[in-house]
Amino acid sequence: MVEVKLQNIVKTFGETVALKGIDLDIKHGELFTLLGPSGCGKSTTLRIIAGLEYPDSGKIYFGDEEVTYLPSHQKGAVLVFQNYALWPHMTVFDNVAYGLKLKGMPKEEVRKKVEWALELIKLKGFENRYPTQLSGGQQQRVAIARALVVEPKVLLLDEPLSNLDAKLRLEMRSEIRRIQRELGITVIYVTHDQEEAMAISDRIAVMNVGTVEQVGTPKEIYETPRTEFVASFMGKTNVVPAKVVERNGDRVTVEFESFRMEGLHYTDNSDDVVLVIRPERIRLNQVENGVSLTGTVDLVEYYGFFVEVIGLFGETRLIARTISDRGLEGLKPTKPVTFYIEKDDIIVLPKQQL
């Protein structure tokens, strides 16, 4: 178990700046997720922590020890590759035992440790199989066992679920969570799937084009995004350009179309802002302490247990999400509709600079 600290990590590949100064503080025994779209630098960050790449500048600490330029095989940060990277010419046993044998561990001890690891991932009895004789989920487990068995300081998981089918993905997700809790190990997890990140993580760092946009618990990230990017990356959301007309402490009054409303204030001094409103926080019945917008129904989309109502307010479209229920039959395109929003559900953020 170890604390991982990244200080101002910069990495360029030729002309491209992949990481523009990453700072991260990952706690003991935490499951920490790097989340972002492809090309945001999350995998590069992971590979730098693993020692498979070296940063141009910046420092990495495991606990108090600086490990920035330690070669990968001395680092103790073991990576589980996205494609598992199981060696097809070795059996499950030999794959898992590889790292232990390199340490010069006696045979008997190697056998015990491998047995322990295979038990942990519930693949006892598969020792003599070859990777090609395993299913995708089993291969994934072997890859995890191979990493865990060497007792890494940090376990790094690079998009571990991306090659699995939907059902297996849920299963492996809780499996990873279980193993992490059982061993109390520090895990750094990379994914582009926000739902997966929220379900599994203690904390999340949302990354975009080589920078960390926000770090926080899944709840913080989802409910109080600090940038337009984070807001729109974390699930479906309404992002509406607006103008600030009045400031009042942490509250601010804004205007869009012909509507004027008050929201939670996270802007800098700019008057060009966006309003971020989660679709499930827009209601179709009266709320206290909120605003109401009246417009027309543009479209109703039925998703089973919930329904999305897209309302047209002037030129602006807003999506409201509500549980499927009786009483929604009246909502037909071109019919009038009123959306109700509580003040605290309107988040005012600086407009994203492109």
Partner: protein, 615 residues
């Protein structure tokens, strides 16, 4: 320790790593020492006249009608001659001077091999007909390399009393008079029959790799028959076909077997390869700077062909856009007229092109061959392979040279492919990559010539066993091993780097990440995973080393004790009556080695390796 930007720029790894750096430096230094510098020494020789930089030797070539005579060719393509009481059409070709002859022969051979190769490939790739499997096996025969003796058989086939006239004049009465193919036309025919399998293999692979949906879409839109072939199929296959044809062009340029066999007719000697070769064997012209200049002209032509095709194929590298879908090869039953063409034209043509190999076997088991068919069955020649001391000796020599060369080739191609394939960002990676493939474009006779100038003049080697002018100490084996290792490197390197590309880099990274050093990751992960490619590359290069001709009959034939097989074969076919049969027996031995290698490659590695003919 911190990141070393200098190391990263050149070697692609930020940490100075002994395994990586030596993987770059070993092949790089070897190729510079035994390919680049020798060629540069020859280049310097060609540009020096009485100690000054001069174009004198080039002027002496282009100013002489013997070498360069574009406007007033001598001779004629066809003449009728009286032989006894019958008229014979005699084809020997025009003489435009050595340089232009070589280029024209090379271009004609490219054209003929393309026609033959594409025809066979298209029939095999697209039609299903009774006897196709037999044809598939027969198409394998012309791939077997039998230096010199196959040309001897081709020459016999096209004599007035040869097989061709026996069929087409005597029996089918298709020719009004017998034909006799000799001189440069003979060289062209012999080379076309020898080299067309290279185009065939490339064209076949190209036709097979075309996504069927591309042709189906064209048909769906109304294109059929030849229009479909001309607008979709052929353009898609063209890069592969052109690459094969270019390789053939280079091989034709450097070929010595055909001109040596046909040298009884003066015009067949008027080719660049033969001129350089004869300066070697005649002795008096050895070390003549004019020959260095001629070698340089030949090298330049070959390099231009090579670089053009690399550029063209690179440009036309259509990434196949197809995603998913059914991939059912487009194989059809031929219609009536198509079947007629297959059985009446294509199959007989194939039988003619495999006859040289059959003829070599017949020759090896016969006492003499004057007329249409060989006569007098004997096992003496085959027995001589095991009993006649000078024959046993050359077999041993070739086996030893080739084995040592293979060890070097494997080491070179493994390090070069690993360095260039795994550290692509390194500045040295593309340099190494080019250096490892360029020997394909360097004619063997040019290497022989360069080595002659290099080892006989440059200090560290001058006077050693590598110096061919140091007659008492010169050991041809050493020069041959060096030449083999350079010349045959590209074939093993290609097989091995294909293997490395198939192993995802994460497999090594996982090992390094789990505590292995680079050396350990290389030996425990990468090498075991590409073992089959190593074996395949070794087989391929071994076969080519055994049958290497150009260097073997020049540097390799200075001292008969150290002859490789091909040097002995050349001596035998030029020797006394009947000795050609002994050369044929050596040819049969080489064929057996090749069949064995192919069987090993196919059975043990379960992969299909295409052997391409090389001399």
């Amino acid at each position: 320790m911190a990141v070393n930007k200098w190391v990263e720029r050149f070697f692609g790894t930020p940490m100075p790593d002994a395994v990586v750096i030596s993987s770059f430096l070993f092949p790089l230094i070897y190729l510079i020492a035994f390919l680049i510098i020798p060629v540069l020494v020859m280049l310097l020789t060609a540009f020096l006249y009485h100690g000054h930089i001069s174009l004198f030797w080039f002027k002496s070539i282009f100013g002489s009608p013997y070498y360069f005579n574009p406007l007033h060719p001598e001779g004629s393509l066809v003449t009728t001659i009286q032989q006894g009481n019958q008229t014979v059409y005699y084809l020997s070709g025009w003489d435009f001077g050595v340089v232009i002859n070589s280029i024209l022969v090379s271009l004609t051979v490219m054209l003929l091999t393309t026609i033959l190769g594409v025809t066979f490939a298209f029939v095999m790739a697209r039609y299903d007909f009774p006897g196709k499997n037999i044809m598939r096996i027969l198409l394998f025969v012309p791939l077997l390399v039998t230096p010199f003796v196959n040309v001897v058989v081709v020459k016999k086939m096209f004599l007035p009393n040869g097989l061709i006239n026996w069929i087409f004049y005597q029996h089918l009465h298709l020719f009004p008079h017998p034909i006799w193919i000799d001189g440069l036309v003979g060289v062209i025919i012999a080379q076309s029959i020898t080299y067309y399998p290279i185009v065939y293999l490339n064209a076949y692979a190209s036709f097979i790799n075309i996504d069927p949906s591309l042709e189906e879409q064209a048909e769906n839109l109304g294109s059929r028959g030849f229009h479909l072939f001309r607008t979709v199929t052929f353009p898609l296959a063209l890069p592969g076909i052109a690459a094969g044809a270019t390789l053939v062009g280079i091989f034709s340029l450097e070929d010595l077997a055909a001109p040596i066999v046909f040298q009884g007719t003066a015009i067949a000697k008027k080719l660049m390869s033969f001129q350089i070769y004869s300066s070697f064997v005649s002795g008096f012209a050895i070390g003549n700077p004019q020959m260095a200049a001629l070698s340089l002209i030949m090298l330049t032509i070959a390099l231009i062909m090579f670089l053009t095709i690399r550029w063209y194929v690179g440009m036309k590298q259509y990434a196949m856009l197809s995603k998913g879908g059914r991939w059912k090869p487009r194989v059809a039953k031929p219609k009536g007229w198509q079947a007629a063409i297959i059985y009446l034209v294509v199959v007989p043509l194939l039988l003619i092109t495999i006859f040289p190999q059959i003829g070599v076997v017949l020759l090896a088991f016969s006492r003499r061959w004057y007329g249409t068919w060989p006569e007098g069955f004997t096992l003496a020649n085959m027995k001589a392979l095991m009993t006649q001391p000078d024959i046993v000796r050359v077999i041993e020599n070739s086996l030893i040279y080739s084995t040592v060369a293979i060890a070097i080739i494997l080491l070179l191609s493994l390090t070069a492919s690993y360095a260039a394939g795994r550290f692509k960002k390194a500045k040295l990676a593309p340099v190494l990559d080019s250096l490892a493939t360029i020997p394909i474009a360097v004619p063997g006779i040019v290497i022989a010539m360069s080595y002659f100038f290099f080892f006989s003049t440059v200090p560290p080697f001058k006077g050693t066993i590598l110096d061919p002018t140091n007659l008492l100490a010169f050991f041809p084996g050493a020069a041959l091993i060096l030449a083999y290792s350079i010349r045959r490197l590209p074939f093993a390197a290609r097989s091995i780097s294909a293997g490395i590309q198939q192993v995802h880099v994460s497999l090594e990274e996982a090992a390094v990440n789990l505590g292995a050093g680079r050396w350990k990751a290389l030996t425990s992960i990468l090498i075991p995973m590409i073992l089959l490619n190593l074996l395949g590359g070794a087989m391929l290069s071994f076969v080519y080393c055994m049958s290497e001709t150009s260097v073997g009959i020049t540097l390799g034939s200075i001292n008969s004790t150290w002859y490789p097989i091909t040097a002995k074969m050349r001596e035998l076919i030029m020797g006394a009556v009947g000795s050609a049969s002994l050369a044929a027996a050596l040819g049969v031995f080489l064929m057996l080695v090749q069949i064995l290698a192919i069987v090993i490659a196919n059975v043990i590695t379960k992969q299909r390796y295409s052997f391409i003919g090389l001399t």
